[in-house]
């Protein structure tokens, strides 16, 4: 193993040990541990979905899209409010159309005018889009808490009763979410690897000028990629909204995708997924098993670990492997 990989391997090993350690404690029921694990994985799937939106746009345009969280919220609001007046699937299709229209407007009004500008300029532009979308969402759809009913029973299922005492409680919605996410990821992989548009997207991501020289129209590609990111945001927003209710805190939770992309790498689709799962599981485990220990040892108030765990982990990753687990390593000639 090269010396470069050692710190990151150690970090991952420490994480893994930390996750399994509670099992060795006498007080922890294996069934309960498994429930926490599954809960973490499910949260991770949702993080991964949001992170996927970030990665898609970053890959194709080198733009760090700060508005991805706002897009999740906006799409979820659209579905929630539209579905009050029509069947869910029509609301879904309409919301998807709205996200495509949004992508088109962003390209026309923002991206097209900022071609070849510095990354920071584009970042600021997406920040602006994020705030606009937040406010505009309230203006159009209202600012209450709305619900999306996917028609799945809220009653949790009890599984593996014969293996663990008391069985394991699994949320039906979580399973649907996981299946949806997996399907979406497979679809994206096919799209990127197998279609000529996918090849064009990868080409644009690598080099704008060269892509133009072989006749790839940049503006069309940007509309496509923002539409796909909008669609991913829609799916994430729907699943999330049905779980937690559609409200403005969704936006904040969506920002959890930042540490996820730092962990997985800005340019990697598998990275977004694995990063999401690691952070989802890590923070749940830390909250449930680590915080009681802290309370005991230092007489702290406890709790709240879930809120910062992901960011601390991301910071550590920035120290040992700034490009993330699967990102492209940049070596600049000096």
């Amino acid at each position: 193993m090269s010396a470069r990989n050692l710190p990151v391997t150690l970090l991952l090993a420490a994480l893994a040990v930390g996750m399994v350690l509670p099992l060795a404690q006498s007080g922890t029921a294996p069934g309960f541990w498994l429930e926490v694990l599954i809960g973490g994985l499910m949260a991770g799937v949702l993080y991964a979905l949001v992170a996927l939106g970030f990665v898609l746009i970053f890959k194709a345009s080198g733009v760090f899209n700060f508005a991805q969280g706002a897009m999740v919220l906006f799409a979820a609001l659209a579905v929630a409010r539209l579905s009050e007046r029509m069947p869910l699937w029509i609301a879904f299709v309409l919301a998807a159309a709205i996200m495509v229209a949004f992508a088109w407007v962003v390209e026309r009004l923002v991206l097209r005018r900022l071609v070849n500008q510095e990354g920071v300029t584009l970042l600021m532009a997406t920040l602006g889009i994020a705030f606009f979308l937040d406010g505009f969402g309230q203006t159009v759809w209202g600012s209450e808490i709305y619900r999306i009913d996917l028609g799945i029973s809220k009653e949790p299922m009890l599984v593996l009763e014969s293996v663990f005492q008391g069985g394991v409680l699994v949320n039906r919605e979580d399973i649907v979410a996981a299946v949806l996410a997996a399907g979406l990821v497979m679809l994206l992989a096919l799209f990127f690897q197998r279609t000529s548009t996918g090849r064009a997207l990868r080409a644009v991501a690598d080099d704008h000028q060269a892509a133009q020289s072989i006749g790839i129209p940049l503006s069309t590609i940007w509309v496509i990629v923002w539409s796909v990111a909008g669609f991913v945001a829609l799916v994430a927003g729907m699943v999330w909204g049905s779980k937690l209710g559609v409200q403005f805190s969704l936006q904040e939770t969506a920002l959890r995708a930042l540490p996820v992309v730092i962990l997985g790498g800005f340019t990697s689709v598998p990275g977004a997924i694995i990063g999401g799962l690691i952070i989802g599981v890590g923070e749940k485990m830390a909250e449930v098993f680590l915080s009681p220990l802290l309370v005991q040892a230092f007489d702290l108030a406890g709790g709240g670990i879930e809120n910062w765990f992901a960011y601390v982990l991301a910071l550590l990753f920035l120290l040992v492997r700034p490009e993330g687990l699967f990102g492209e390593r940049h070596i600049d000639r000096v």
């Binding site: 090849r199 080409a203 060269a210 072989i214």
Partner: protein, 260 residues
């Protein structure tokens, strides 16, 4: 040479281009005939790359126009240029580094792919056939450029000389009628330069591709070009067959006379 030089297919007239107060090109006119190898030479900063970028549609000149097969443009868009059958390579490599040699070259076929997304994703009949057909074409280019051994290697890992060949391969995959080469020999050793000259002559000879070439390596250019344009400080100071240009007083003073 056995090739038949044809009629004028590309001409630029009175092109002037400036960036702020800096004049990159002043009143440049020249034409390119079908099947010929036409070079633009000049010292560094003479405006060679700017000229290429005007033809390619990356820069819009303040004055002048470009005529391509009888169609006149005052502004060209890179996408339109590609559709019109003009391909280019880059001085500083602009390859898709994360993609393999084959994928890079296949990306040159992008404009020619017709089947729709869904069919491609699941590799249905016509899409499958189309993919195979394009793949076959790209394999011919790979053979031609003698890079068979590197098909599946990510381009970023290849040595410089080979990356230059892939750049050329991607442009050839577009089946261009006009190929713009931006300093194809820059940074090469003598052997690599000879290889590249041979490829350029072969492309011109076998596919009949018209070639517009920018270079500041005089030796190579004089050997392979049919006609040469000489630029200096954004002005045209010479235009004609290599021998004529070589003996032109002004060209010698501006360019050949100075050692570099």
């Amino acid at each position: 040479m056995a090739r038949d030089i044809g009629d004028v297919i590309l001409s630029v007239e009175n092109i002037s281009l400036s960036f702020g107060g800096v004049k990159a090109l002043t009143d440049i006119s020249f034409d390119v005939r079908e099947h010929e190898i036409r070079s633009i030479i000049g010292p560094n900063g003479a405006g060679k790359s700017s000229m290429l970028n005007v033809i390619n549609g990356v820069y819009t000149p303040q004055q002048g126009r470009v005529t391509l097969r009888g169609r006149t443009f005052s502004h060209m868009d890179p996408h339109e240029v590609a559709l019109a059958g003009i391909a280019r390579t880059f001085q500083s490599l602009a390859l898709f580094k994360g993609m393999t040699v084959l994928d890079n070259i296949m990306s040159g076929r992008n404009l020619r792919m017709k089947s729709n997304l869904l069919m491609q994703a699941i590799r249905l009949g016509p899409a499958e056939r189309e993919e195979i057909e394009h793949r076959r074409f790209c394999e011919r280019i790979i053979d031609f450029l003698e890079i068979q051994a590197y098909r599946k290697v990510p381009v970023g890992r290849l040595p410089y000389g080979l990356q230059k060949r892939v750049d050329l391969g991607r442009a050839l995959a577009m089946e261009p009628s006009i190929l713009l080469l931006d300093e194809p020999m820059a940074g090469m050793n003598t052997e690599e330069k000879q290889d590249m000259s041979r490829f350029i002559l072969d492309v011109n000879d076998e596919f009949g591709t018209t070639i517009v070439l920018i270079e500041h390596d005089m030796g190579v250019v004089m050997d392979i070009s049919d006609r040469v344009v000489v630029l200096d400080y954004g002005r045209k100071i010479g235009d004609g067959p290599p021998d004529e240009v070589r003996s032109d007083e002004e060209v010698i003073r501006a360019y050949l006379g100075t050692s570099h």
